[in-house]
Symmetry: C2
Subunit: 339 residues, 2 copies
C-alpha cells in the first residue's frame, strides 16, 4: 500500500505538498500537482480513511440507526430498499458513506458508536414510536435526521410524508366516488404516521361537512390481522360504513378480505383505500386504491438535511421536510360516480 510518504519521496517533494495536492490543489503549482497525481496513479495510491479521520475528526461516514422500535422484531419498513438506495446515492454523491449501526443494546449505544467512529451524523429509521436512543443523540448535538418521526434538538430534524394530506386526499376521493359513511382503520396513535393520517381523515371529513362518528374510528396495528379484525367490528355496526380508509395497505388488504368473507362486494358494498402503496397493493384483486409516498425522495431528503447540518456546524437544523403523498386510484375505491 503506497502512502503519502512514498509519493513524496518519489516526486522529491514533502508530504505536506502531497497532502495539499489532494485537499487543496490550488495551493500547489500545476507541474508539482500533475507529477504527484501521475505518481499516485502509477502506484495505485489510495488515501487512508482512518488516518484522515484521526487527523481531522471527520469520518465522512454517517451512521444508520435502524431499530425495530416498539412494534417488535416483526416490524418491516414498507420500503427500506428504495430508502437505502436514495440515501446511499445522495450520500455518496457528496463523498459520504453509510455505516450500519448495531441495533439497540442500551440507549447510549448509538452515541458511543458515533464517538468511536467519529461519525459525522446519523439517520434514524424506525417504526415511528418514541425511542430514547434518538432523543439522547439529538440532545447531544450530533447531526440527526429521523424518518417519519418528529425530533427536537439543535441539530436534529426529520423527513416525513404529507401523511395528513394524503389521508385527506384518500377520504376526499372516496367522497367523490359517492361514499358518505366513511370510516377509518387508524394506525397506532403513538406512531407519527398513525396520528397524522387520522388527523387527515378527521380534517377531510370536517372540510366536506361530514360528521366524524367516533364509532367509525377504530385503531389497528398496521398489520393484516389488525385490519381484518377492525373491519369486522366496522361491519358489525348498525349503520355499516360504505367506505373505509385504512391507514396502511396491509390493514387495507385485511379489511378487503374481511369484507369479502362477510359476503360483501368490494367496492360495490364497501369501498376501501389504503396508504403506502406496498408491492402487493397492485397485485391483489381487486387492486388497492392507496396513497403512494415519494420513496426515493425520503433518502435523498434525509441525506440533504444531514449534509447541510454537517457542512455548517453552527447552523440551526433545517426545518422538517414534508414529502408529497400521491393518491393512486385502483379498483377498491369503485368506479367514478358509483354509489
Amino acid at each position: 500500500m503506497a502512502t503519502i510518504r512514498d509519493l513524496a519521496r518519489r516526486c522529491g517533494v514533502s508530504v505536506a505538498t502531497v497532502s495539499r495536492v489532494f485537499n487543496n490543489p490550488d495551493a500547489v503549482t500545476r507541474e508539482t500537482r500533475e507529477a504527484v497525481l501521475r505518481a499516485a496513479a502509477l502506484l495505485g495510491y489510495t488515501p487512508s480513511a482512518p488516518a484522515r479521520t484521526l487527523a481531522t475528526k471527520r469520518s465522512c461516514m454517517v451512521g444508520l440507526a435502524w431499530d425495530t422500535g416498539h412494534r417488535g422484531p416483526g416490524w418491516r419498513h414498507p420500503f427500506l430498499q428504495e430508502l437505502l438506495v436514495g440515501l446511499k446515492t445522495a450520500l455518496s454523491e457528496r463523498g459520504y458513506h453509510l455505516l450500519m449501526l448495531a441495533a439497540g443494546e442500551d440507549a447510549d449505544g448509538h452515541l458511543r458508536a458515533v464517538r468511536r467512529h467519529s461519525l459525522d451524523g446519523v439517520v434514524f429509521i424506525d417504526d415511528g414510536t418514541a425511542d430514547p436512543a434518538l432523543t439522547r443523540l439529538a440532545e447531544s448535538g450530533v447531526p440527526c435526521v429521523s424518518l417519519d418521526r418528529p425530533v427536537t434538538g439543535r441539530r436534529a430534524t426529520y423527513v416525513t410524508s404529507d401523511n395528513a394530506g394524503g389521508a385527506a386526499a384518500a377520504v376526499r376521493h372516496l367522497h367523490e366516488r359517492g361514499r358518505r359513511r366513511i370510516a377509518t382503520i387508524a394506525g397506532p396513535g403513538r406512531t407519527h404516521p398513525g396520528a397524522e393520517r387520522l388527523a387527515g381523515y378527521r380534517a377531510a371529513l370536517a372540510a366536506l361537512g361530514l360528521p366524524v362518528r367516533e364509532e367509525y374510528v377504530v385503531e389497528g396495528d398496521f398489520y393484516l390481522g389488525g385490519g381484518h379484525a377492525a373491519m369486522r367490528r366496522l361491519l358489525a355496526l348498525d349503520e355499516r360504513p360504505d367506505a373505509v380508509f385504512a391507514a396502511g395497505d396491509e390493514m387495507a388488504i385485511g379489511a378487503v378480505r374481511a369484507a369479502l368473507e362477510a359476503g360483501l362486494d368490494v367496492p360495490g358494498d364497501v369501498a376501501v383505500a389504503g396508504f403506502d402503496d406496498i408491492e402487493p397493493a397492485s397485485l391483489v384483486r381487486p387492486a388497492l386504491t392507496t396513497v403512494a409516498q415519494d420513496r426515493a425522495g425520503f433518502g435523498a431528503a434525509a441525506a440533504a438535511a444531514l449534509i447541510s447540518m454537517i457542512d455548517d456546524p453552527d447552523a440551526a437544523a433545517p426545518p422538517p421536510t414534508v414529502l408529497p403523498a400521491r393518491l393512486v386510484v385502483r379498483e377498491t375505491s369503485g368506479p367514478p360516480r358509483a354509489g
Copy 2:
C-alpha cells in the same frame, strides 16, 4: 473525548498498560485493570476506531457491495430487509460493522474502498449475474462472500439456497397433486438461481419418469410481465400444460393472472407454483404455493463464512453454504389428489 493518555495519567500508569487492559486484560494485574476500567467508566472513555484501525490494519468493518447488476436499476432483492437484519445481527455479535459501499462506478471502485477503509471483507448482494467488480475483488485476496452467485478465489465463497432442490420439491408436489403436464417458466439463464431452478425442474421430471418437453420450458425475466407473457405462450400450445412451476413468485403471479384472463380456473385447469415466497404470495387470491428460503439464514451464513476467513488469514475459503428451501403449500397448486 477522553483518550488513552488521559486514562494513563489519571491512573498513574503508562499508555501501554491502558491499551493492554482493553486488548489483553490478562496481561495486567487485577488492581491495575480495575482502576483503569473505573477511570474509563468515569470519563466515558470510548476507544477510537480509526486510531485502532490505523495501528492494526484491521477495521472490524465489512463492506456491503450492493449493486443492481445487469437486471437494471429496477431490480429489487426479494428480501433485502431480512437479509440485512441477519447480516447485521451476526456481524455485530462478533464486533463487526457493515459499511455500505457506494454503487458501481468502475470495477475497481470496491477494491479501492476496501483499501481506503481497511475493510476486513466484503459481502456482495446483486442479482446473480456476473459482475466484474466481484471477480476483481475475489482475485485480489480480500475475503468475499457473495449471495446467490458462485465465485472462485482463494478467499471467496458464497451462500445460496438449495434452488435445484426447492424447484424439484415444487415439481414433485405438482406431480403428487395429480398433474402430469408440468411446464416451467424459468428465470434468466445467466443468473445462478435461474439456472439452478431450471436444473431442479429437469431433474425432478427425470426422477418422476416424465419426459422434458422443450416447448414446456420458456424463459421469463423474474418479473410480473415476463411471467404473464410466458404463460400466454404456454397456454397457446396444442397440448396445454396442467401445471406450471415458475422460478419466481412475481412470474408466478403474472402466470396466474394470465390464466384467469384466459378464462381458466386456477388451480382447477392449471396449477401454479412459484419460488421465493415474497410478501404478496400469501396475499393474492388464490394464494400462491411457493418455495420459501431461509431469509435470516442468508445473512447469518454470510457473516459466519466471512468471519471464518477473517479470523484465519491463511485458511482456504469455506465451501459454499447451501441453505434449505422449503415448500409452502397454499392454494394455487390445488387440493390433494385433485386432477
